[in-house]
């Protein structure tokens, strides 16, 4: 370094910290590393907001246009499944938060326990979702593949009064297009989440995240909570449209 700032370089910086193995070489210290990781995760969640935002925007427009179709479409979903899934996800968010807490307090066993519970709850969510999708397939509600507006013309089982004229019944396709796109993308995020969690679990069993290096667990927690938040909005928007009718 022939022509550098060496003259002005701080004498500190390299001296006194004890280089834990997980401190990456380009960070000055752990605080900086952890701050960078958290901030990066938040920025990634920002992109996720906009990713789902495009679909929420479409939802808002079509709900205004085709309100009766959205009501009928919503009525054809199982509210018990939606509520159960919301409950599962919220509990899994809680268990994940507890997992992060366990990592923060460096307790390996509780961390592993909370991770397993979170994984099971997430898997339970996907099972319920799969059941619902199967149901919709049987009922011919999948746009493009086997859609038929029949049920919305004659009235659904739960809401026999939901009789739409043909043109509006056809518009339930828009509702179901958005339903499958939104829940599909959400489920994809859940699957990615569970896979990541499984990976983290293996590392955590070896004691990776209870030695003060909690950023991966913390960031995964942020991701998991974000996926929960998306569902918190999907639930009223898709399942709870005008249930009283």
């Amino acid at each position: 370094m022939d022509n550098t700032l060496a003259a002005q370089t701080a004498e500190t910086g390299h001296l006194e910290h004890d280089h834990p193995p997980f401190l990456r070489h380009h960070f000055e210290n752990l605080t900086q590393q952890r701050e960078a990781a958290t901030f990066g995760m938040w920025l990634f969640l920002l992109t996720e907001i906009m990713f789902f935002g495009g679909m929420f925007c479409a939802y808002l427009i079509y709900r205004n246009w085709y309100y009766p179709a959205f009501v009928a479409g919503s009525h054809s979903l199982h509210i018990w499944a939606g509520t159960l899934n919301t409950t599962l996800l919220i509990i899994s968010s809680f268990t994940m938060a507890m997992g992060v807490h366990a990592a923060e307090t460096r307790q390996r066993k509780p961390l592993l326990r909370w991770m397993v519970i979170t994984m099971i709850l997430g898997f339970g969510f996907l099972c319920v979702k799969a059941y619902e999708w199967h149901d919709e397939w049987v009922e011919h509600h999948v746009p493009g593949l086997n859609f038929s507006p029949e049920q919305f013309i004659t009235g659904t089982k739960a809401y026999p009064d939901d009789k739409l004229p043909l043109d509006m019944a056809e518009k339930t396709q828009v509702y179901f297009s958005l339903y499958f796109a939104m829940t599909g993308m959400h489920a994809l995020h859940m699957i990615i989440g569970i896979s990541l969690l499984a990976f983290l679990f293996v590392r955590a069993r070896a004691g990776a995240y209870t030695n003060g290096h909690i950023a991966p667990i913390e960031n995964f927690g942020l991701y998991w909570h974000f996926v929960d938040i998306v569902w918190i909005f999907l639930f009223p928007l898709l399942y709870l449209i005008s249930r009283h009718q």
Binding site: E28, N29, L43, I90, E104, G221, H225
Partner: protein, 120 residues
């Protein structure tokens, strides 16, 4: 909290890590009690939003449903995601996300809403 921040800075005073700006995170460990409380509140809100949807409130059904969803989101963001205890930068980041999302929605809606007004 201020005190805590000071301690944090004092602790790292000898380490040069970027220019000092009031955006640095202090890492706050939230007590499990808070998580339990928040989780319970979220569950209660979930059941109540499902129940309220069976009550005819007119246009307010959608408003209430969204308000409850926003409340739930705030709880998750503030406590589960630690934003309440995070730096201003994190808060700003979250706000920027919602702001851009609102720009997308409102600016698109200017078109869709005013289309119904007719030509001029």
């Amino acid at each position: 909290m201020d005190q805590h921040q000071e301690q944090h800075h004092a602790h790292h005073l000898h380490l040069p890590h970027g220019p000092s700006e009031p955006t640095h995170t202090e890492f706050h460990v939230v007590s499990p009690k808070v998580y339990l409380l928040v989780g319970t509140a979220l569950l209660i809100l979930t059941f109540s939003t499902a129940a309220i949807s069976y009550v005819d409130l007119g246009v307010f059904n959608a408003v209430v449903a969204l308000a409850i969803a926003c409340l739930k989101m705030s709880l998750v963001v503030l406590f589960f995601m630690h934003v309440k205890y995070s730096s201003r930068l994190t808060k700003l980041t979250v706000a920027a996300g919602f702001f851009t999302f609102l720009v997308l929605i409102t600016m698109t809606m200017t078109d869709y809403i005013s289309r119904a007004w007719g030509r001029w």
